[in-house]
């Protein structure tokens, strides 16, 4: 009997309070880290780059960073809205590129003014958004596949009217004619002018877009229902939410913002370049996903997306100033994304 060392072997390891406390301490320590990590890193970068390169700390450079990220941030906000309904829009890059071509074609070939061209671009975006929504909501094509298909479609469609050539004044059309129009100065001002001469117009447009969509998603009934659709579509439907219409809205917003972003690109570049917008999709998606880590939101959020885009913009700007070669940029963006996702999903297990 006494040969059996008994009950302690059967009972669980000691569950004293001291054995329980450490994980709590870790959690308490991690919470602010998770919450403010992106801001702390952003601050560290600002200080570090400013210290290494005095020109970094200047109004002009700050505005050039913001101008550089404005298009990506606008597209990212659109991605965020589709992610709120648990969807995904792969076609935004192609929409932006098609918008560049549409704007250029409208002005150079059709010789239309700025307003008509801008409206043409925005309506193209809305139509593509509706097509996406039709495929996804009505025909039940999975969102990734549907938007992948429209991405392909648009990528090809934008080449057809000009037989694959970039658009600028003097373009030889497929039918042999010459396009004699030019970019209207008002349209170019969209991308090149600055409000009161200090804040570039694209930055102002980004600020307006971000503010409107932040308020829409976080403080209105529509926003709550968009998130409800993405969080638990069945629950949203059983609560009487028009989930199909909400999804349509999300894809139209996303495509519309992508078209707006494309118009800004066209206005800055001043020509219809067939290769424009190629990196926009990945950058915008990355901004949205980095946004998950901002303030520990762990969900798509407009504020986080804008911060995420700025974060990447500052990093690239600083590295460029320090003469990092341009071909390292994608690697840097990828590394930031991996880090942000690891922080969102790895460090922050809620249960």
């Amino acid at each position: 009997m006494n040969a059996l060392p008994p009950s302690s072997a059967n009972s669980t390891p000691m569950n004293t309070p001291t054995g329980v406390r450490p994980p709590f301490a870790w959690q308490a320590l991690l919470a602010p880290v998770r919450r403010y990590a992106i801001f702390a890193l952003l601050l560290a970068m600002l200080l570090g780059f400013g210290f290494a390169e005095s020109a970094f700390w200047s109004w002009g450079n700050a505005m050039s960073v913001l101008q550089a990220v404005s298009v990506v941030a606008i597209l990212g906000v659109g991605v965020t809205v589709t992610m709120a309904v648990a969807g995904f829009d792969l076609s935004i890059g192609a929409i932006a590129a098609s918008s560049v071509m549409t704007a250029s074609y409208s002005m150079v070939v059709w010789q239309q003014g700025a307003l008509v061209s801008l409206l043409a671009v925005l309506s193209l975006g809305m139509v593509v958004g509706l097509v996406n929504a039709l495929l996804i909501v009505r025909l039940k094509v999975p969102d990734l596949l549907a938007t992948l298909a429209t991405m392909f479609l648009l990528g090809g469609l934008q080449l057809i009217p000009t037989a694959g050539r970039s658009i600028s004044t003097g373009l030889i059309l497929p039918d042999g004619g010459t396009a004699n129009g030019a970019f209207s100065p008002e349209f170019l001002a969209l991308g090149r002018s600055a409000l009161f001469g200090v804040v570039p117009l694209p930055v102002v447009i980004l600020a307006v877009v971000a503010l409107v969509l932040y308020l829409l998603t976080e403080h209105t009934r529509i926003g709550r229902l968009l998130f409800a659709t993405g969080g638990n579509e069945l629950a949203a439907r059983l609560a009487g939410a028009p989930t199909a219409r909400l999804k349509v809205l999300a894809y139209v917003i996303s495509a519309g913002l992508a078209a707006l972003g494309g118009a800004l690109v066209a206005a800055r570049v001043g020509r219809g370049d067939v290769s424009s917008g190629s990196s926009l999709l990945m950058d915008a998606v990355a901004a949205s996903l980095i946004g998950y880590a901002v303030l520990d939101a762990r969900r798509p959020n407009v504020l986080g997306t804008v911060v995420g885009a700025i974060f990447v913009g500052v990093l690239l700007n600083g590295l460029t100033m320090l003469n990092a070669p341009y071909y390292t940029q994608d690697f840097v963006k990828g590394a930031v994304l991996v880090g942000a996702l690891a922080m969102t999903y790895g460090l922050s297990r809620r249960d």
Binding site: M1, P5, T220, R224, A228, N232, A236
Partner: protein, 542 residues
């Protein structure tokens, strides 16, 4: 014997062979036997009991999930060739016990012995290697459409890395035929697994169990989706396996099944065994043990209401070949529909909430024809529904906007409360705080994340959602799933106190129906009839 067994339990693991048992007995005899002869005798008795050992010995199993004690010390023995029926209401601990035996869960405390060997499988695969095979109610995970039955039969062997590299159709068929004949029944081996009936799929799973020479077969609600004839065929198979010495643990809510097949009935309630009845089994006693009181006392005081009729079904058919349904629910009345899984309860509620049409006939709401085409239309007509499985049907994921107590309650009412579109959290909080105090919801605040609440409190929040605006009819599908007794009483009180709307509840647990309802209907095969007495409700639903 008591002393001996106590020493036995203290051992880190139970004796692993007969030799060890003798050694243990001898040690014990040396230690204690010299003084008191009777102890020696009892230890010998203990030894004898062990040598004619049962196939499964379960001792003092405990398992908790958070604050919920699913198993609170279960000890049980199963003999070879025995068909043991496991009964118990939802949450009684049946599934936990079965999941521990089948390796899906690990016990917190206690041990299991299989054939005299310690048995603590880390996974269902490990359990199968020990000869314990579980056949679940849903057999769609046994194989997949597009596979032949013969392939599905051999799937396990291939997955385990046994079997040849090259598979010819003929060799597969030969092996599969061998398996089917060993199990003692015929299957169409060339049929597509996706095309065969649920009953045949179950037989495929059973044949796989027989092929690995399983000692224990666990059948979880095997007849839930089976017709009468199919069930009879299953019983014949089970009796055959029993005759070969296989122990069968059979879980079912259907008393008729258990009467047909069980040698012994073990009833669980609140994680402990409350009855262990041998053949001939008195099933009334089993049911009373299951619900924990006499059948006559389970009932709430049924009210005979004469208020106006809110919902009226007359000659409504759920399927064109199903029986016409008639149902009446009056204002302020609580009516329950009970019946086993798949009887059509959810289907009826879903149809009333605009999620599927009736095949024939229509409902009347307050005397007006009522044909909702969507949940939105139903809600606008004053019909609300809290669906089955609140996580799937009502709640937002953790950390998501609207995943608080206040947000959960507000979701369907946003349009009414915030016509301008601008959310005002103070309004949501006010309604939530009122609900928290009215229903006794245990939550830190109106802004507490919904996932931090216990199941019962989450269900109260879901109820508060639908009671926070006036409605004509409230439909509740399995509202007491994962709800503890205290919260259940609060919810029942809240439902019965509501005099403005009618309540229609679907529950597969007749005990719950008795606890909450003024009148009970029993549903079976999409047909509906009102239970004239409580016993009838229990018997019909069981």
């Amino acid at each position: 014997m008591g002393v001996w067994l106590a020493g036995f339990q203290c051992a880190p693991c139970p004796a692993t062979s007969k030799k060890q048992i003798f050694k243990l007995a001898f040690l014990h005899w040396r230690a204690a036997g010299r003084s008191i002869a009777s102890t020696t005798l009892s230890s010998l008795v203990g030894l004898l009991t062990l040598s004619a050992s049962p196939l499964i010995r379960i001792h003092g199993l405990e398992k908790s999930f958070g604050a919920t004690r699913a198993l609170a010390g279960v000890s049980l023995q199963v003999q070879r060739g025995e068909v043991l029926a496991l009964m118990g209401a939802n949450g009684a601990g049946k599934s936990t016990l079965v999941n521990i035996l089948s390796g899906a869960l690990q016990a917190d405390r206690g041990w299991v012995e299989l054939d005299g060997q310690p048995y603590a499988p880390a996974s269902p695969k490990a359990a199968a290697q020990h000869g314990v095979v579980t056949v679940h109610q849903s057999t769609d995970r046994v194989g997949a459409a597009g596979q032949r039955v013969a392939d599905v039969l051999l799937l396990n062997q291939w997955a385990a890395g046994r079997g040849p590299w090259f598979l010819s159709r003929a060799s597969v068929r030969r092996k599969a035929e061998l398996m089917a004949s060993k199990a003692g029944f015929t299957l169409d081996l060339d049929a597509d697994f996706g095309d065969i009936s649920a009953a045949d799929r179950q037989l495929v799973a059973i044949a796989r169990a027989v092929a690995v020479d399983a000692k224990v077969l666990i059948l979880d609600e095997p007849t839930a989706c089976l017709s009468q004839a199919e069930a009879q065929r299953l019983f014949a198979v089970v009796r055959d396996l029993q005759a070969r010495g296989m122990a069968v643990v059979y879980i079912s809510h259907r008393i008729a099944d258990l009467q047909a097949i069980a040698d012994r009935v073990v009833v669980l309630r609140g994680g402990v065994i409350v009855a262990d009845l041998h053949r001939p089994v008195a099933f009334d006693a089993a049911v009373e043990a299951m619900i924990g009181r006499s059948l006559h006392n389970a009932r709430v005081r049924a009210r005979q209401l004469t208020s106006d009729v809110v919902l009226q079904l007359q000659g409504v058919q759920l399927r064109s070949d199903s029986a016409p349904l008639s149902l009446q629910v009056r204002r302020g009345e609580v009516v329950a529909i009970t019946g086993h899984l798949g009887a059509g309860k959810s289907r009826l509620l879903r149809a009333l909430f605009g999620l599927g049409p009736f095949a024939q006939g229509q409902a009347e709401l307050n005397g007006q024809p009522y044909l909702p085409t969507s949940p939105r239309a139903a809600i606008e007509a004053g019909v609300n529904m809290a669906g089955e499985d609140r996580h799937r049907s009502s709640l937002m994921p953790a950390g998501w906007p609207g995943a608080t107590v206040a947000g959960t309650i507000a979701l369907p009412h946003l349009r009414r409360w915030f016509p301008a579109g601008w959310l005002r959290p103070a309004v949501e909080r006010r309604v939530a705080n009122a609900a928290i105090s009215r229903l006794g919801i245990k939550a830190r605040s109106a802004d507490a994340p919904i996932e931090t609440l216990s199941g019962g409190n989450q269900q109260k929040v879901v109820l508060a959602r639908w009671q926070s605006e006036p409605a004509h009819l409230l439909l509740l599908d399995e509202p007491f799933q994962g709800v503890d007794v205290g919260a259940r009483a609060d919810i029942i009180a809240a439902l019965r106190a509501d005099t403005q709307s009618a309540t229609l509840i679907a529950t597969s647990d007749p005990e719950e129906a008795l606890e909450v309802a003024d009148r009970i209907y029993v549903m079976d095969h999409l047909g509906l009839r009102e239970a004239r007495s409580d016993g009838e409700a229990l018997a019909l639903a069981a």
